[in-house]
Amino acid sequence: MELQVNGERHLVEVPADMPLLWVLRDMLDIKGPKFGCGVGACGACTVLINGVPTRTCVTAAADVDGEITTIEGLPDGERLHKVQEAWIKHEVPQCGYCQSGQILAAVALLEEVPQPTDADIDAVMTNLCRCGTYPRLRAAIHEAAGMEG
């Protein structure tokens, strides 16, 4: 099977039903996508597939057709994505475990809706955060919406 991850091509041999999450983490050593629930309920494993936020713990690797972007592939070289910059400015992360998934979900939201309202954010940002970083996360999305880049 062939996977295109962060601009690199990978050949892997895995069972047809193996979720993309475990192929990324255990086979390709790409640890940004996190295991949280295994049933698509928390969003910690979110990556972008052709720009669409996808929960990889319930996506069979064999079904993936497209370019996969994980948090590792988000910066442009050394330059962080504006959403990452906004996350640092608002000091969003606490334990940080869910933040790769949150950031990628926010990137996808801003691609679709460059100036989201609070209601837009509520509708799309459904990833779980047990540290309760939601208020700063919301502020950081609004911040990123106002940034160039």
């Binding site: 295994g38 996350w87 992360p93 334990c95 475990y97 509708a123 309760g132 970083t133 208020p135």
Partner: protein, 758 residues
């Protein structure tokens, strides 16, 4: 960054802990309780001045932060404490968790375990607090818990910085042939009166040979440049780029993968297991039995995590029956039987409530609270390699020393032969103090022929094998006099967390564990003057494991006590705020009064609100921090919409305002998730919930705006991570009462009223 990167990489991989050469230095001044664990670990050109500071000859400064970073920002605060006294700026400093070692004991945590209210300063209370601190040293508990890390580090870390600065000044004075008193420091450089400068790195090797005659003086807070001001968190960059390494991300050469399938009936052994079916799953390599003080079950070893999960499913395990009532109804009956019997112990109280109630109209209420799981975002996991009689253990842990002791015992080796490497923690909330994860991991690592193995629990395993916040049942009676509270009879039935934890960690001491004050924390120790009161604990004992859940017993009694006060205010026709203020008569209760008045002002308490909209108020003092909260709900649409939350916290001294505010907000949302919808229930002897679809927490849309203010009236420093949780459920329930007249006495409230979560 060369040296720091070296130390960091080596420290993380645990390879350099005994191997590195270099000029190790034995000196440090710190009441010399334990050997400095650092010299053996240093790279060439690095010098350690205390167990907390390493300075490289290239002027790199690494501060050892021996508490777990689980999102509470403690590494930043501990680094700031050192930097303030060291004469360096935050941008010059790296942090490193450091090894598990006795020198990093946490005295502040056990101090507050003594059975006295925080504000009680009497001789006996002080003596008991001191004795508990000594006990912590004895057990060398390098624990992150009890909201204690900054309090514990407040003296130690500043002393460490001041000590290092003093020997660096001495070294510079010798080099220049001048008196040290004329020298100053700035950005990790010593400056003489003619403007000459020497970097700390340049002086490190000479300074490391010096000793001090007396401890250096610490700065007066008025001179602080760093402390008291918000600092950028030290680990933000790695956490927005996916670079942070949590336990689950550990990757070692030739590593195997595994998971566990433990008995869902606590204390019960396996009846049957289809090992052949598990072995038939592609990628499964072995199935091993696990027998430990924390549970029975199997480890499934495989070539990847997914295969291990599939193997665990294929095992189709059957289990013996459990020794406790099989369902929640039966368990509640057991709790209520305990309430019918004599109390196990009482704490605090005054006067004679029984006599005071004779002939008076008695107000009675029963409260119920469920078991709760922690559900850290990162499921339980650890990685271990057991080779040549030594165990390397990569663990996101709040208690590395305890993990070392427990795994050593299991494997029949010495604790010194266990090397715990603490990773980042994907949430802790008390769960990552436990020994079950290290024990199962060590048991599996003992059967891999010396290969490293990463053990990851499924979310289902994580929720069904937690160490739960205890279920509790409370029976309260009170009487009023002239509309004001007069007598209180407060009884709560709950299992002892201490006993449960000791049984898992140090079983030989379990039966000697003291009465567990946490059963009553948040009730008897609150700042109220009752003419007559009695606080009684009815201790339960079952095999269902209970543990430390963010704010521990305060999460139970904060709800019960503050809800009941609201009931008494309603019965007496009093304003809930005014009644509380008039019960806080003692001078030592002043911080509570100020916090309540401040939060009331923020929320415009007492304003006319539309029919169906209401505000509720509550205050709990826990972990030395006084927290008052107001919740506003709107029920005009039928369902409960939580509109806004205001909070005022007084920890006496705020070292980092932005971080403290984040912790209070976090604790409020943690409490709000639990109050609205979380409960662990039992049927057939096992936990019924298994994943986020039946044990959820709030998402973005369900979280209202939260406004936090901080005060510094309290005479002693309090904690940050937990105190925001206890008042929340009561403030929410009281708001629902204010909006609807409906009194909720059982958590979670979502069982009785519908919530509008956006």
């Amino acid at each position: 960054m060369g040296k720091i990167a070296k130390y960091t990489r080596r420290g993380f991989l645990g390879l350099g802990l005994a191997a590195a050469g270099g000029l190790a230095v034995g000196y440090y001044y710190y009441k010399k309780p334990y050997p400095n664990p650092l010299p053996d670990t240093l790279a060439e050109g690095d010098f350690s001045f205390t167990p907390y500071v390493i300075i490289g000859s290239d002027n790199t400064i690494t501060i050892i932060t021996p508490r777990a970073e689980m999102g509470q920002g403690i590494h930043t605060t501990l680094a700031a404490l050192v930097a303030e006294e060291l004469g360096a700026d935050m941008d010059q400093i790296a942090t490193e968790h450091g090894p598990a070692a006795a020198a990093y004991y946490n005295g502040a945590m056990l101090k507050e375990g003594a059975p006295f209210p925080f504000f009680e300063d009497g001789f006996i209370a002080e003596t008991a607090r001191g004795a508990m601190g000594v006990l912590g040293k004895f057990l060398a508990l390098q624990v992150t818990g009890g909201s204690s890390a900054a309090i514990d580090g407040f003296e130690k870390m500043r002393e460490a910085g001041a000590t290092a600065r003093a020997v660096l000044l001495e070294a510079a004075a010798k080099r220049w042939g001048v008196d040290a008193s004329g020298l100053t420091t700035e950005r990790a450089e010593v400056i003489n009166q003619s403007g000459g400068r020497l970097t700390y790195g340049d002086l490190a090797s000479e300074a490391a040979k010096l000793t001090l005659a007396k401890p250096p003086a610490l700065k007066d807070p008025s001179e602080w440049r760093i402390l008291g001001k918000s600092q950028p968190r030290v680990e933000l960059h790695e956490k927005v780029t996916g670079a942070a390494i949590y336990g689950i991300d550990v990757q070692l050469p030739d590593m195997l993968y595994a998971t566990v399938a433990m008995s869902p009936r606590f204390g019960a052994k396996a009846k049957s297991a289809d090992e052949a079916a598990a072995m038939a799953v592609p990628g499964v390599l072995n199935v091993v039995e696990i027998i430990t003080t924390t549970g029975y079950g199997f480890g499934i070893i495989a070539s990847n995590t997914w295969a291990a999960f599939e193997g665990a499913r294929a095992l189709a395990l059957e289990w013996e029956a459990a020794d406790y009532p099989a369902d929640t109804t039966g368990l509640k009956a057991l709790w209520n039987e305990a309430l019918d019997k004599e109390a196990s112990f009482t704490l605090g109280g005054e006067g004679d409530p029984e006599e005071a109630m004779l002939g008076a109209e008695v107000i009675e209420a029963n409260y119920s609270l469920p078991y709760l799981a922690h559900t850290t975002m990162e499921p339980m996991n650890a990685t271990a390699q057991f080779k040549d009689g030594k165990l390397d253990l990569w663990l996101g842990t709040q208690a590395p020393g305890i993990a070392a002791m427990a795994t050593a015992k299991l494997l029949g080796i010495e604790p010194e032969d266990v090397n715990v490497i603490t990773t980042r923690l994907g949430g802790g909330f008390g769960r990552r103090t436990e020994v079950d994860v290290p024990l199962y991991t060590a048991a599996i690592a003992a059967q891999t022929g010396g290969k490293p193995v990463k053990v990851t629990w499924s979310r289902e395993e994580d929720i069904r094998h937690d160490t739960y916040r205890p279920m509790a049942e409370a029976r309260l009676k009170a009487t009023l006099k002239d509309g004001m509270p007069e007598a209180l009879d407060y009884r709560v039935a709950a299992p002892s967390i201490n006993k449960s934890v000791m049984r898992r960690s140090f079983p030989e001491f379990a039966e000697r564990s003291n009465p567990d004050r946490s059963i009553l924390d948040g009730s008897f120790d609150q700042p109220f003057s009752w003419p007559h009161s009695r606080f009684a604990a009815h201790q339960i004992d079952t095999d269902i494991p209970v543990g430390f859940w963010r704010s521990v017993g305060n999460s139970i009694n904060g709800f019960v006590h503050e809800s009941f006060l609201d009931e008494l205010a309603a019965a007496g026709g009093q304003d809930p705020l005014a009644m509380r203020l008039s019960m806080m008569k003692d001078e030592r209760h002043a911080p509570a009064r100020e916090a309540l008045k401040a939060v009331a002002a923020m929320a415009n308490w007492g304003q006319a609100l539309p029919e169906g909209v209401g505000q509720g108020i509550a205050h709990t003092l826990s972990f030395g921090t006084w927290v008052a909260e107001v919740v506003q709900v709107d029920m005009r649409g039928g369902a409960v919409k939580v509109e806004k939350i205001w909070a005022v916290a007084d920890p006496g001294m705020v070292l980092d305002p932005a971080n403290f505010e984040a912790q209070i907000t976090s604790a409020i949302i943690y409490g709000l998730s639990a109050a609205i919808g979380q409960e662990i229930t039992f049927d057939d002897g096992r936990v019924m919930q298994e994943n986020f679809y039946d044990y959820d927490a709030l998402r973005m849309a369900g979280v209202p705006p939260i406004e936090v203010a901080l005060l510094e009236n309290s005479p002693r420093m309090g904690g940050a991570g937990e105190p925001g949780t206890p008042p929340l459920a009561a403030a929410l329930g009281n708001a629902i009462f204010a909006a609807s007249g409906q009194r909720l006495r059982a958590l979670p409230f979502g069982n009785e009223v519908e919530f509008d979560l956006g």
